[in-house]
Symmetry: C2
Subunit: 101 residues, 2 copies
């Protein structure tokens, strides 16, 4: 976490906010890529979308501001990671539901 | 079910469609009222929203078209019911997640 990429306290995150954030095919797919719990570089090819970088950035920001992900800055590398344990604590079962086909 | 109020086959319902439908405070509250699995009259006072009838009708329609509810017409009474068993079969755990505070 950094000042540049603030995240809400999980205790303050509302379910409807999370639902709104994941109610989008691209963001749902991002969550599925992140489901392994590991940080994933924002610039990697693995996202598999034919999206402009700016569009992808918008989706990353939406997920972060909704409380679903955090951004990890290491030097010039920016990675995104699911706040999986926190999400599971706040909304038990939610992550598993999102990973369903 | 009636021709007037068609519902999609649950097998065709996509998770992102369901998420989009419930990613709204009013519709999420409607789902919670319906969580008992019983039909609830559309015109009842129990919904607890200060909404115009037309606005409430729009939310009912959105839920039905997303596959979440069915409308039961009995004479002049229209009731709405959660497709709970079907939803549970298609997206295990989803309904429980939606009922969390």
């Amino acid at each position: 976490m950094s000042d540049e990429y603030p995240v809400p306290d999980m205790a303050d995150v509302q379910l409807v906010t999370v639902l709104r954030a994941v109610a989008d095919p691209v963001r749902l797919q991002i969550v599925r890529v992140l489901a392994d719990g590991e940080p994933h570089a924002k610039g990697a090819d693995e996202w598999g979308f034919e999206l402009q970088k700016s569009a992808l950035s918008y989706h990353f920001k939406t997920l972060r501001e909704a409380g679903i992900t955090r951004t990890i800055v290491t030097g010039r590398t920016h990675a995104i990671q699911l706040r999986r344990t926190e999400l599971e604590g706040r909304f038990p079962g939610l992550v598993d539901v999102l990973l369903q086909a």
